[in-house]
């Protein structure tokens, strides 16, 4: 029989308590009424926020594919960044004033965790640092009252799978070592081909049937909680539906690595809509004891990053 105080609540388990994939284009924030799909995405952010809060996170870890870095990975560490943001493409949709609550202490722990796994990383804490549109949109819609402190990490333009997986593992190290309950928010589109001309938002659609079919296949996997299976498909997804702006489609590698590299999740697709031709989806993953078993994976597992091997990219 335990002699502990029966009124004392059991401390919640640390770890990655919830995961979210959200698009970073500004329409759901700035002009949800311009198209039915934008409104559904806006509403999906709200539904996702409710689920996220139900898992009682004490940290939002945001990985934004719209924040590129070159010197390793950068981590936002300004405790209260404040600015009026304007998107470089959709500037006519309006300005986005923001003030966020960043967990400066965890940002430094995260940098140390990346360093311990052989990665180059640094914190950035400068007034006026240009936080990317995707991070701004995600935090404004998912955490409008800053009730949960956040940390944002960049995406290195040259990093491929090994480096990205190790970044995800390092983030997991920091979450567990800090005893944190983290919700991981990955900002990025599925297919990323925009229409290259202006469109009526009411007529927005996925750029091509092929993009749409692949997006739906990804969402079928994620809806079943098959995150690692999706991550294993990343190279093929990149070949099939990604405009090659960076070396590879790496958001799923990061997401799976930080969430534990398995398929044991309850997946929920809150919405899937077009954003100027790209595939925008709001998807939630809650860890569970069951789910789809691990498949026979093709990709190697990597624990430590051993640096740039001078492979041209």
């Amino acid at each position: 029989m335990s002699d502990s105080d029966p009124t004392e609540l059991e401390a919640p388990e640390p770890g990655t308590v919830y995961g979210l994939l959200v698009p970073g284009l500004p329409q759901p924030l700035l002009c949800p009424g311009a198209g039915a799909g934008y409104q559904r995405l806006h509403d999906a952010f709200a539904a996702a926020r409710r689920q996220l809060l139900a898992h009682e996170p004490d940290l939002l870890l945001v990985y934004s594919t719209m924040w590129p870095s070159i010197i390793g990975h950068q981590i936002q560490a300004d405790p209260q960044p404040e600015w009026v943001h304007v998107d470089e493409l959709f500037h006519d949709l309006g300005s986005i004033p923001y003030r966020f609550r960043i967990d400066e202490g965890f940002a430094h722990q995260l940098r140390d965790a990346l360093d311990a796994r052989g990665l180059t990383a640094r914190t950035v804490a400068y007034h006026g640092f240009p936080i990317d549109t995707g991070s701004v949109v995600a935090l404004k819609l998912l955490n409008p009252d800053n009730s949960v402190p956040a940390v944002i990490i960049s995406s290195n333009v040259y990093s491929d799978r090994a480096e990205t997986v190790v970044v995800g593992k390092a983030c997991r190290d920091a979450i567990l070592a800090g005893g944190r309950r983290a919700a991981v928010v990955v900002v990025g589109t599925l297919s990323n081909r925009l229409f290259t001309d202006w469109i009526d938002p009411a007529d927005d659609r996925i750029h091509s049937l092929k993009d749409d079919e692949w997006n739906r296949k990804i969402l079928e996997f994620l809806g079943q909680g098959r995150l690692e299976d999706t991550a294993q498909l990343s190279r093929e997804i990149h070949r099939q539906i990604r405009v090659p702006k960076v070396v590879n489609f790496k958001s799923m590698w990061f997401w799976s690595a930080v969430m534990g590299q398995h398929n044991q999740f309850d997946g929920e697709v809150f919405a899937y809509e077009a954003l100027h031709g790209t595939g925008g989806a709001v998807v939630g993953l809650a860890p569970c004891g069951s789910g789809v078993g691990d498949k026979e994976f093709d990709e190697d597992d990597v624990e430590q990053f051993h640096g740039d091997r001078d492979v041209l990219a």
Partner: protein, 294 residues
């Protein structure tokens, strides 16, 4: 009748502003990248002999995937913090825009069949590529500018498609300037080879760490410079797809192709003011003075 009086390849590594310690930039340096900074000084000296009204710059760091955009607000003053090198570049800018010329350029590009847009949001933050190239070319900021975005068709389609669009934009630029009453300086704000190192020295201006990323890129840089110096600009455009891919070049922005087109494929010698590497990338500062402007 308006005229293009000077054109320049004017790369924008923020390191060059950092190392020059202008009062607008918060971080300070001991030294660094002198061969390029002195090259920019030679460019500025050359420009001091030429009368002009406006600088028009095409920057890879204003990336627009839908159309080509033009700054369309008369004045911008704010803080520019480099998203990649915030430790080096936190620059307070105060610049004026030649909005009438921007509108003429935008209209001409639209007439040429390109997708265009004027940028009218006063809260917009001017990209650091525009700021760095303009600062190094004209540190007094006593001339208005027009900034043109980089339409990323190289990523979306191919370098060939990008070049078709940039050649058209260059012709439209020349036509619009000719139809105006402006004497204009054009800046292609881009590096040549563009593979960076992914780590940085503790002292960023430690020049014992600075060199080209690899020999292959140096060879490409020298080949391009030699072709530009000897007036083989059509050949440069023909070679651009290979160069862009193999040297991971920032020419994917279209800036150099646009400049060559606007200058009507100059066959005269480009003046080379300086070449140097910045965190492994290859950068040349070069200028063209059109014959009719001499």
């Amino acid at each position: 009748m308006g005229q293009i009086v000077f054109g320049a390849l004017a790369p924008h590594p923020p390191h060059l502003v950092y190392a020059a310690n202008p009062p607008q930039n918060e971080p300070t340096a001991e030294c660094g990248w002198e061969t390029l900074r002195w090259g920019y000084e030679r460019l500025a000296d050359r420009l001091s002999t030429i009368e002009y009204d406006t600088i028009v710059v095409l920057s890879p760091h204003w990336q627009t995937y839908v159309g080509t955009h033009f700054l369309g607000v008369e004045r911008f003053h704010s803080l520019s913090v480099d998203p990649i090198f915030p430790n080096l570049f936190r620059y307070r800018y105060d610049l004026t825009v030649d909005v009438p010329l921007a509108e003429q350029l935008c209209a001409a590009a639209s007439e040429a069949g390109l997708v265009t847009k004027m940028m009218r949001n006063p809260d917009f933050r001017v990209d650091y590529g525009t700021i760095v190239s303009c600062h190094l070319t004209n540190p007094t900021w006593d001339k208005p500018i027009v900034s043109i975005s980089s339409q990323r068709s190289a990523a979306f389609y191919s370098v060939e498609v990008m070049q078709e669009q940039m050649l058209a934009l260059g012709r439209a630029t020349a036509r619009a300037i000719e139809a105006s009453d402006r004497r204009v300086v054009l800046l292609a704000s881009e590096s040549l080879s563009h593979r960076h190192f992914v780590s940085e020295a503790d002292i960023p201006e430690d020049m014992s760490r600075e060199h080209i990323t690899n020999h292959h890129q140096y060879l490409w840089d020298m080949k391009l410079i030699e072709m530009l110096r000897t007036g083989r600009t059509r050949e440069v455009v023909d070679l651009m797809p290979e160069f862009t891919e193999q040297a991971v070049s920032e020419s994917d922005s279209g800036a150099l192709t646009w400049l060559i087109s606007a200058l009507s494929f100059p066959r005269y010698t480009a003046e080379l003011y300086g070449y140097g590497t910045v965190i492994g990338t290859g950068n040349a500062v070069m200028g063209w003075v059109p014959r009719e402007a001499r």
